[in-house]
Symmetry: C2
Amino acid sequence: MAQIRFDVLTLFPEMFHGFLSTSIIRKAHEKGLIETNVTNFRQFATDKHQTVDDTPYGGGGGMVLKPQPLFDAVDHLLQDASERPPILLMSPQGAPFTQKKAEELAGHSHLMFLCGHYEGFDERIRQNLVTDEISVGDFVLTGGELPAMVIIDSVSRLIPGVLGNHDSAAMDSFSNGLLEYPHYTRPSEFRGMEVPEILLSGHHANMEKWRREQSLERTWTRRPDLLKSAPLTEEDRKFLRMLEQKKRSE
Amino acid sequence: MAQIRFDVLTLFPEMFHGFLSTSIIRKAHEKGLIETNVTNFRQFATDKHQTVDDTPYGGGGGMVLKPQPLFDAVDHLLQDASERPPILLMSPQGAPFTQKKAEELAGHSHLMFLCGHYEGFDERIRQNLVTDEISVGDFVLTGGELPAMVIIDSVSRLIPGVLGNHDSAAMDSFSNGLLEYPHYTRPSEFRGMEVPEILLSGHHANMEKWRREQSLERTWTRRPDLLKSAPLTEEDRKFLRMLEQKKRSE
């Protein structure tokens, strides 16, 4: 049995085809670790034109997704469920999605995603159907489909067995709370650009020290906010104080 | 001629199929407003196994994308270009993607996206090929493909003619710097849940006041950081002070 099931409600199920049939997500399906079910909620509309939206009360532009098709779609999908899963609404108004939220969601065995497309959602959907409103960032997208894929991807890779040992290394390097140090591979010279000598030295302790300092310096330069919560050693702090002093004396 | 061309370099071009053939993006293609070209950079590998990655200098887990296939792919794609476009690397280490960045990118006629998949990029790619490193958020994804789609979607909808007047309303409501007010549509009662009476009153000025206050209160509750930069009237500030007082007296 799959360790997690993702139910997606969308008006554009075909948008998920490439994503679901590629790479890690495809392999996780094939291994039976995840199950994904994409449903077009238009099929739950009850009128002959299969209308899912209507004009807003109070006027103004845009259309609003009606409550009935989404409530009925959720009822239908959960008719055999023993408990109600988190029902996530993809919305720029939601709480920002973070790696911590991904870890929390990965602890569930079932997640539902409601994706709107241009339209707003009738407020009764937000208040009485949805359990979490999630935003993947402060930018405007055409719909909730890409954000749902982002969340499914980041949650899936936390499910045991989805990533091989090989792939999970990348995750560990993020989870130390700092930006990654620079990576280099062969050749040692390409179009006149050289690999730092220290990485060719074979001196393990020096290379580790260099990597840690590169990681600290890059975080200090680009994302100083991360340093507040990253676990730092006394030596790390000394190096960061040195960077501060160097900057002040410039 | 298209107003903007997106070149995507990826090892998983099929991941883009659903996205490119759906909704707004498909229509923008059909109208000739945008052009998208997805290239598998594996075809630029020069050895018979078409290797694009190698182990890192200095050891450690994970694989690193070699410089040669990506440098050669970019050279090939730009051989007839009159100027070098922004070359964007999708990376959790990049500057956070925002609506402002989307607007800036929409001013270009050509954008290139480099998408890695699990692997790191050889630092020489970051330093000498890439012009912008962009992150869509503090979470770990399997690759840069979904972030590239997020950026292509948000930039495309800013290209004149891509959105109809109907759709662009939603964007305007975000661009006032506040979270949106609640939307409601028919029926006025659904499963016992009612639409606020004020929206059924037909009193235009009262409805507008209610909406503004809902928008302010929601922003104040969920995303107070946005209030610092949102354009506010004296009446807005008065309402926010009232909310503060109410909270303090609770």
